[in-house]
Amino acid sequence: MNCGFCGKEIPAEIGPGEEKNSCGSCRGGCRKIHCPYCGYANPAPGKLLRRILEKKEQKD
């Protein structure tokens, strides 16, 4: 995904729900992806939405 602020590509492993990347500000699991270049907090889709999007991508 690309950062919503600076437009740079955020490496895939900086993803949602990754324990090692969690900043601890979201209750009930990480829902943000912080851009390593500018620090902007990008929203990370929850599990259900991610599953729907993945299914749609597979279909496409």
Binding site: F5, C6, G7, G28, R31, H34, A41, P43
Partner: protein, 651 residues
């Protein structure tokens, strides 16, 4: 058995999405392996190919924006360049963004690597009217330059020829400004060890505090030389602490611009593309400020305030909940629960349903939903980085830079998360000033929506609120920057292109933000309702309200308004919802409504924001901010009340 000679290596480097992987596949075909780079989870693809009878190993590195790494991907890509001894390094760039990508070519050439520049996606550049004189560029850079359209294999033969013929020759030096050149030359002269990158490039990386290169130098330098070298580097770093990164970046850009002056020609077009024009307008203060005001008027005032806080809340709260949902729920609880305390807990004045659920679902959710929709729309167009450039000059006056737009913009969504993001600001001073301003003058989305919705019904009230908030924001920022003197922060960033928002992106971002927000507020609203219910049952709530009442009366508000301030301590949006109840019950005059809105916006950060402040800034700083904000909020409320009553502006 004798060890086989390793194959000559060809390394592919470049920004993400420039066609590097396409080139890798074209060169290698099916013979590839993907494995994690040792000690990391970053994948590196390797393959082999034969060019004019010679076999080569091809390495596809992860995307990188500079040889000064920030992410793990970039670190791995740079490690490969430092560890391998390639026959050739193919720097793949997107022809359409040649000016933005060429500075990295300069870095790679400066590092002394055997570079071949691959200018890919030439067809798209031509379609946009760009003519690139590749021969001239090759002459200016002093390295082979090949133009390609790799998805159609155009330019493949020339590229293969260039790889086969590659003969490393000393690269052209690119000269920086006099001061920077002096420092680079001095440092490079002191380097005695042997390094993969040239001494000039190693010096520049050392001066930019690159820790990996520092370690290499510590290992590579003779002990008697190391101390003197590091002393000189530390001196340069200190002397240039304010703007070294910016200066290097700007000088590289300048070199590239000059180099491209006679290389790229843009075909005459009847009209400059509208996106380009709009992008320029958004940054220019004369046109950018009216555009910002239009965004605020239509995006926030009309859509969030008018549609979200007005139409949607009226429908959900005033019609659906009031007429169809609440009565059966309350009746059901009353008929099944005999204990008065339990009824109060579930469906009483401060009940979990009547206060917690109703506020969260019927009041806050439609407002934050409309806010996040407009927010995601603006985000997807690429407007925010332009806003950062637009306000940079004003922000400098208050000790911040355009970079602080990131937490400020996020603060309109949720101040708690924005407080955490202040850690991305460069200096401690900036972080403290941004934290104060966030806890004071930046309302969160729900609070903003309710206030816009309520004040838009009273002529003049919204203007008074906006002017008050802007003045307080600038005044407090200005004073804070004077109380905490320090260096002026430097801000620069590459602008991503302005684009039409994509429906899918906007929908996913809006839904994700709404879900995230709702998950956060619902338990807190229920918890706040529970505490308020407990305080009411114990008779303590009246005591707290009674204690706060003289202060609330002093700023000209009725006793009933005290509850909104008590709510506001739990959550800013909870307090704003309390204000909505007061107004819909007809308890406030226009002046009182405006004073209450200003005071509540400035009023203490909510519990979650306070805890985040404590985590980021420490207890002492957070407590000081908390006390300062509380006193200032009521002082401003008192002053505004006096001014409005004296002038009769909203009478």
């Amino acid at each position: 058995m004798a060890e086989q000679n390793p194959l000559p290596k060809v390394v592919l480097v470049g920004n993400p999405n420039v066609g590097k992987s396409v080139l890798f596949n074209v060169l290698t075909g099916a013979y590839t392996t993907v494995s994690n780079y040792p000690g990391t989870s970053v994948e590196v693809s390797r393959g082999e190919c034969e060019i004019f009878g010679v076999n080569y190993e091809i390495l596809d590195t992860p995307g990188m924006y500079s040889i000064m790494p920030i992410t793990e991907e970039e670190r791995v890509a740079r490690k490969i360049l430092l560890a391998e001894t390639p026959h050739a390094v193919l720097h793949v760039i997107d022809a359409r963004n040649i000016e933005r990508m060429l500075p990295m070519t300069l870095q790679l050439i400066e590092a002394g690597l055997p570079i071949i520049l691959v200018v890919n996606i030439l067809d798209e550049a031509k379609r946009l009217g760009m003519q690139i004189n590749l021969q001239k560029l090759q002459q200016n850079l002093g390295v082979p330059v090949i133009g390609t359209v790799m998805r159609r294999k155009q330019g493949l033969a020339e590229l293969q020829q260039a790889i086969a013929d590659y003969a490393s020759v000393p690269h052209k030096p690119f000269t920086y400004g006099r001061d920077l050149e002096r420092d680079v030359t001095l440092t490079a002269a002191l380097l005695k060890g042997e390094y993969r990158f040239s001494k000039r490039a190693t010096s520049l990386l050392l001066m930019q505090k690159d820790t990996d290169v520092e370690q290499l130098v510590e290992r590579g330098e003779p002990a008697e030389n190391l101390a003197e070298l590091m002393e000189v580097v530390r001196g340069i770093i200190f002397e240039r602490r304010a703007d070294l990164h910016l200066q290097i970046s700007m000088e590289r850009k300048k070199i590239c611009k000059n180099m491209l002056a006679d290389v790229v020609t843009q075909a005459e077009q009847a009209d400059e593309p509208f996106a380009e024009k709009l992008s320029r307008w958004t940054i220019n203060p004369w046109s950018g400020t009216p555009i910002l005001l239009l965004v605020i008027y239509f995006g926030l005032y009309q859509f969030v305030g008018g549609f979200g806080a007005g139409t949607l809340v009226d429908f959900l709260e005033g019609s659906l909940f009031e007429n169809y949902i609440n009565p059966p729920v309350v009746d059901f609880v009353r008929s099944h629960v005999s204990a008065e305390w339990l009824f109060e807990l579930l469906a009483g004045e401060y009940g979990l349903w009547t206060l917690g659920i109703r506020y969260a679902v019927a009041l806050v959710l439609p407002i934050v939903g409309t806010f996040f929709l407009i927010f995601s729309l603006l985000e997807d167009t690429g407007y925010f980085p332009r806003l950062a450039l637009l306000v940079d000059r004003v922000f400098k006056k208050i000790g911040l830079s355009g970079r602080a737009v990131i937490p400020m913009v996020l603060g309109f969504g949720c101040d708690t998360m924005a407080t955490m993001v202040t850690r991305t600001l460069e200096t401690v001073r900036e972080r403290i000033i941004a934290t104060i301003l966030l806890s004071l003058a930046i309302p969160c989305s729900a609070q903003l929506g309710v206030i816009l919705g309520l004040l838009s019904e009273v002529p003049g009230a919204l203007a008074v609120w906006m002017i008050s908030m802007l003045l307080i924001f600038l005044l407090v920022g200005f004073l804070a920057s004077k109380v905490m003197p320090g260096e002026h922060p430097v801000f620069y960033m590459e602008l991503p292109p302005l684009r039409l928002p994509q429906f899918r992106n906007v929908a996913v971002k809006t839904l994700t933000r709404m879900q995230s927000y709702f998950m956060e507020i619902l338990p807190l609203f229920l918890f706040a309702s529970f505490i308020l219910w407990g305080l009411k049952m114990l008779g303590a709530l009246e005591g707290i309200i009674g204690g706060l009442a003289p202060i609330v009366r002093a700023i000209g508000l009725p006793n009933e308004a005290t509850s909104a301030f008590v709510f506001g301590f739990f959550r800013r949006d909870f307090g704003a919802a309390g204000l909505y109840d007061l107004q819909t019950n007809g308890l406030l005059t226009p002046t009182q409504l405006t004073v209450a809105a200003v005071t509540l916006t400035l009023f203490v950060p909510c519990i979650a924001q306070f805890l985040m402040m404590k985590k980021e800034r420490g207890f002492q700083v957070s407590l000081s901010i908390f006390l300062f904000v509380s006193v200032l909020a009521f002082a401003c409320g008192w002053l505004l009340n006096k001014i409005l009553l004296t002038t009769g502006v909203l009478a």
